[in-house]
């Protein structure tokens, strides 16, 4: 797993209070990891902070799974 994926996973585990092994590439924040819409806003903010990037609202809407997040951040770097 890439360094970026590790850091994203750490944020997800911390914010959503889920077990690390539940955070698979296809895991949906809302459907699989118990997040609500406010949690996902906070997650995106945490990604921005961690990686020093800006994630526009329309892009944020497409980040629905752990894999989506990792891919977006890898592309943005």
């Amino acid at each position: 797993m890439s360094d970026i994926a590790d850091r994203v996973k750490k944020i997800v585990v911390e914010h959503l209070g889920v077990e690390e092994d539940k955070v698979s590439d296809s895991a949906s924040f809302i459907d699989d990891l118990g997040a609500d819409s406010l949690d996902t806003v906070e997650l995106v903010m945490a990604f921005e902070e961690e990686f020093g990037i800006e994630i526009p609202d329309d892009a944020a809407e497409n980040i629905q799974t752990f894999g989506d997040a990792v891919k977006f951040i890898e592309d943005a770097q």
């Binding site: 959503l16 209070g17 406010l38 949690d39 806003v41 906070e42 903010m45 921005e48 800006e54």
Partner: protein, 419 residues
């Protein structure tokens, strides 16, 4: 007329977490005051307060993990954490954690706060200044709003009855209990959780009350002696924090399910001073009308009162309330015991009226009036027994609890023993 009784209690106070822990320490006359530990208070005129003792839950300490999951706690201000903790205790005490779906529709929540998420507001303002508005958490607003204790409690237990919150400064807790009792009396609900919570011991909170000249500033070397209602050397209140919440229930409903009944809410009075934004009217007229209104609802004469839990904040206003009580009691003044538990807990602002209602209820249960500690040199002579530095074992069938708030908002709750 539907009668309203108290069937559950919950407390988080500077004397500890839990009703019996707090109450036993109150009866021992212990002070909850100390040097501020939560933040660097060195820039402030007041460097001490009555903080809730944090710990692992042993020896009466408050362990937030016992009540709210760490990941949820991040999203809410401390006043909501205290409120959820006291509400959880009260619900469990009442045996009302898992009623039927129909009963949940008839169970409501009315928990207020004087100031709400003050510290979260300050921290978020710093964040916007330092990092810009995009960094503001989506949980900032729902984590700071005063009615979000009521919201959180209803979500936790599925209570779908009236959901409301009171904001009347230092009268909040008393107004919440009184108004919730009326919702039950008026048949809007059978069971209500009611009370108040506060967590304003922060730089902005202390600085604000310092600016109003409301806080004690002179006793940094001995904070436990700083809250001294009625004493000649009092110099302002000591800020406290925490929450007090009761379960109120319609009398027949409580009896039918065999609930433990602590006391009955027999009277509730309200009044306004229409005088000054922070000072009470000098003649104590508002206080007296509030107390008399509560007695009127109960159909009782002042002489029926055995114990009064005073507002008594350890400010100049103490003697105004005292004079109003003397006037109201008349020749019966010598028969009543009146104490200020703020001498021990400090002033919990929006939670004060609720924790003091609980102390009044426990005074009826245990037939003992709590002391007023640090009362070494009374500022005025009075026929009223202020229970200086020692509790009073005595008959208490009727207890009155007073709360007065900034803006000139007054509330008095009258509790009676249920035979």
């Amino acid at each position: 007329m539907r009668r309203v009784v108290v069937t559950g209690l919950g407390l988080v106070t500077p004397l500890g977490c839990g009703v019996e822990t707090t109450w036993s320490r109150i009866l021992e006359g212990r002070s909850g005051a100390g040097t501020i530990t939560r933040f660097d208070a060195s820039r402030l005129a007041t460097t001490y307060a009555c903080e809730v003792p944090l710990g692992d839950g042993s020896d009466g300490t408050f362990n937030a993990d016992d009540f709210v999951e760490p990941k949820e706690r991040r999203k809410i201000d401390e006043f909501i954490v205290y409120g959820l903790a006291a509400a959880t205790q009260a619900v469990e005490d009442a045996g009302w954690a898992d009623p039927s779906e129909e009963e949940k529709l008839r169970t409501g929540v009315m928990i207020g706060s004087g100031i709400g998420g003050l510290n979260s507001i300050a921290e978020t303002a710093y964040l916007i200044r330092d990092k810009g508005p995009r960094r503001v958490s989506p949980f900032f607003i729902p984590g700071s709003l005063i009615n979000l204790i009521s919201g959180q409690v209803s979500i936790r237990y599925g209570f779908k009855g009236p959901n409301h919150a009171v904001v009347t400064a230092c009268s909040t807790g008393a107004h919440a209990i009184g108004d919730a009792a009326r919702l039950i009396r008026d048949d809007d609900a059978d069971v209500m959780l009611a009370g108040g919570a506060e967590a304003a011991i922060s730089e902005i909170g202390i600085a604000g009350f310092n600016a109003c000249k409301a806080l004690s500033t002179k006793r940094g070397n001995a904070p436990e002696t700083a809250s001294r209602p009625y004493d000649t050397d009092r110099d302002g209140f000591v800020m406290g924090e925490g929450a007090g919440i009761v379960v109120l229930e319609e009398y027949e409903h409580a009896k039918a399910r065999g609930a433990t009944i602590y006391a009955e809410v027999i009277g509730y009075g309200l009044s306004g001073d229409a005088y000054h934004i922070t000072a009470p009217s000098e003649d104590g007229d508002g206080a007296e009308r509030s107390m008399r209104a509560a007695l009127g609802k109960a159909g009782l004469e002042p002489a029926a009162i055995d114990y009064i839990n005073a507002h008594g904040t350890s400010t100049m206003a103490d003697v105004i309330e005292l004079a109003a009580v003397e006037r109201m009691m008349g020749e019966a003044a010598g028969q009543v015991t009146m104490s200020s538990t703020k001498s021990m807990t400090g002033h919990l602002l929006g939670a004060a009226g609720a924790i003091e209602a609980i102390f009044s209820i426990l005074a009826i249960r245990d037939q003992v009036a709590p002391p007023t500690i640090n009362l070494d040199d009374p500022a005025v002579e009075t026929a009223i027994d202020l229970a200086p530095n020692a509790r009073r074992e005595r008959r208490i069938d009727i207890a009155l609890s007073n709360s007065f708030g900034f803006g000139g908002t007054n509330a008095s709750l009258l509790f009676g023993k249920v035979a």
